[in-house]
Symmetry: C2
Subunit: 146 residues, 2 copies
DNA sequence: TTAATACTTGACAAAAAGAGTAAGGTTTTA
DNA sequence: TAAAACCTTACTCTTTTTGTCAAGTATTAA
């Protein structure tokens, strides 16, 4: 249950690769593809979205590739995933685009809303820097501190 | 992203209805169906699973229906949802049935694992009693205390 | 200038998951 | 003994997911 799509997963892994080139070394799609074992065509779709969202920028021509738009500690996992999959919406009635018919007499509405907020808050606290620095302990601490 | 299926959602809402009859008044599928606007046939599927899991018990014959197996404060949302949808597994490599090929060189593995644990822990703290008593403030507090 | 490198776009399709229906049971008890 | 209520299995329709494919456009090193 509550599974993340491959787009979100691959997107984070691609951003991790790009972050490793920060601040000056552009990373090509081919490199990401080989390191993360995801097809070039699929990555193109994903990186295109991230570029339009302003999270990365691209450099064309030989020697080109992708670069982070800003420093790794300013890019949260939440920002990556929400660009690729839209906002966290545990139920369809919490989706901003769909809306809820029952809201007030739906006892569970607040529950799912709270869970969504919990998830979002967690993903906001983790950045690319945490990933790149292999700073897994801080992640563990964050979990411990539920 | 991270959407719960209708089975999980309806399951929680059905359990809420049954909890309102606790400890002695059996609640029929028809009542749940009408109150929660879910078809009887679909509810049968869902309640069947919850009964097999031991969360509810059924009383047959006229005047029969469903009852909680234990008191509402002992039944967490986590237990309901995990019966209906399986364990929280943000990515397929965290699914106990699938396993992960890359584990060690997959930098994001720990991240998704941590998120899953976070979600599970949250859902474990919320029980049917919180729902029935309209105890939304305690839920809000739990969220605030991330 | 030009060819190699690299990014861009949109359409499409196979596969999997989700949502729900249908039909025909069995069990219980007023 | 029939109505009330639960039980089971199978099936289908729809949506989402997961990619692939093909044909571009832009840039720049040589």
């Amino acid at each position: 249950m509550l599974r993340l799509s491959t787009r979100g997963q691959y997107g984070v892994r691609a951003m991790y690769e790009i972050a490793r080139g920060y601040p000056v070394q552009p990373v090509t799609i081919k490199e990401i593809s080989e390191n993360q074992d995801v097809s070039v065509a699929y990555l193109e779709q994903i990186l295109n979205k991230l570029r339009k969202a302003g999270l990365i920028k691209s450099v064309k021509g030989p020697g080109g590739g992708y670069l982070l738009s800003t420093s790794p500690e300013k890019i949260s996992i939440a920002s990556i995933v929400s660009e690729l999959e839209g906002p966290v919406a545990i139920t369809s009635c919490l989706d901003p685009e769909e809306g809820c018919v029952r809201v007030d007499n739906c006892v569970t509405h607040l529950l799912w809303k709270a869970l969504g907020e919990q998830i979002e808050a967690f993903l906001k606290t983790i950045t690319l820097k945490n990933l790149v620095s292999g700073d897994i302990y801080s992640i563990k601490e964050k979990v411990a501190g539920i």
